[in-house]
Amino acid sequence: MLTMVLPLTEAGEEANPLLPHTAEIIFGFVFLVLLAIAFAKVVVPKFEKAYADRTAAIEGGMNEAKQAQAEAKAALEKYNAQLAEARQEAARIREDAREQGAQIMAEMREKAVVEADRIVAHARTQIDAERAQAVASLRSEVGTMATTLAGRIVGESLEDEARQRRTVERFLADLEASESARQAVGTDG
């Protein structure tokens, strides 16, 4: 510290602190101009560019986020629409299935009815045929019997009246028996 406190002892003149040194004015000017140029040319542009980049990065990030949000919203809407469509589709398919089921059931019922009718008709024709057959066979049998009876009547006409009467009664009894047998066959058929 002492070095800078050393007074200039020359001639004992009073130092006036308000009088500037010319060299210091020149250096002061040069240094301040140098600093201003250094800041104007290098520091300020670099920092300002960094600030601008920062602002851009923040704004860009915000825009990106906004865009992503919009995309997500669009996707959600799309999925919702698809879901609704799928629901409608499912409902439609269920409806179709129900209709188809009902149709199939109706068809089946119809078929069953037709089949039943066919079976009934078949049975009826069979019965009719059997009946016709029975009637035919009965008729031929009755003919045979009548012929037989007539032969017998003729053969025994000469014998007494009582005998004649017995023969007729026996014939009638036979006839009745065959009639009841035919009846039994008819109810079976």
Binding site: V5, A15, P20, H21, T22, G28, A38, F39, V44
Partner: protein, 260 residues
């Protein structure tokens, strides 16, 4: 310097600020010139390093540089000049602020311990540059006559007061500003340094040369006071750099302001 042999105490005075050439024969190369040159080197080196690779995500150095740069850019330049035109003046204001700050704080840095601005020439040149700048931008904006009216005829003052107002405003806005600007900075640095010298040299004298135990005790206390005052001075040194640049920015702002 031998204890017990009383000698006359020479109080520090203006001659304490006389600096010898560092190299014999090179008269202009004195301590303040060296310190000022070093401060320019340090400022340029620091801000060049901090801004060289300025990126969106700052490095620690860049962050520190931005802190200092933003302080002048936003808190001083933008607030005083307005966000429309302040960027033009940021380079000068930033350079000016850190130049004054480093040279003031140099008075507290060990081994330097000399405030550059206690040599009034530095304060003059800084004030004159600020004066030229704010008048030049004012004239460029309003024209010479318009600027004269702008600075000397405040709106809303009745016409009969004008003969009084114009000289007052002219003296205060055009003539006195560079003087007050430079003298405020110079006087603070000058007085602060003298104050420190009084306490430190006085303490030293009383301890080593006054030849009295009692005075030696007082001298120790004085010396400790000197250290406290050095702390106060550090504060004053920063404040003065701030004031100088804030006022410069305000002068620029008022010179280019629309008529008030």
């Amino acid at each position: 310097m031998i204890a017990g042999v009383p000698t006359e105490f020479t109080p520090p005075g203006p001659e304490s600020f006389d600096t010898l050439p560092i190299i014999d024969g090179v008269d202009w190369f004195t301590k303040p010139v060296l310190v000022a040159a070093l401060s320019v080197v340090v400022i340029v080196w620091f801000f060049w390093g901090a801004s060289r690779k300025a990126a969106v995500v700052p490095s620690k150095l860049q962050f520190a540089g931005e802190l200092g740069y933003n302080f002048v850019r936003n808190s001083i330049a933008r607030d005083a000049i307005g966000s429309a035109e302040y960027m033009k003046y940021v380079p000068y204001l930033t350079g000016l602020f850190f130049f004054i700050l480093l040279n003031n704080v140099a008075a507290t840095v060990p081994l330097i311990q000399f405030p550059t601005f206690s040599h009034v020439g530095w304060a003059y040149v800084a004030a004159i540059m600020s004066w030229v700048i704010y008048n030049a931008v004012g004239i460029r904006k309003h024209g010479a006559w318009g600027y004269f009216k702008h600075q000397t005829m405040p709106a809303g003052v009745p016409a009969w007061l004008m003969p009084l107002m114009i000289p007052i405003e002219f003296i205060s806005n055009i003539l006195v500003r560079p003087v007050s600007l430079s003298l405020r900075l110079f006087a603070n640095m000058f007085a602060g340094h003298i104050l420190l010298l009084v306490f430190v040299l006085g303490g030293e004298y009383m301890v080593f040369e006054a030849g009295s135990i009692g005075l030696a005790g007082v001298g120790v206390v004085t010396f400790l006071m000197g250290i406290a005052i050095a702390g106060l001075e550090l504060f004053v040194q920063c404040i003065q750099a701030y004031i100088f640049v804030v006022l410069t920015a305000q002068y620029i702002g008022s010179a280019i302001a629309e008529d008030h």
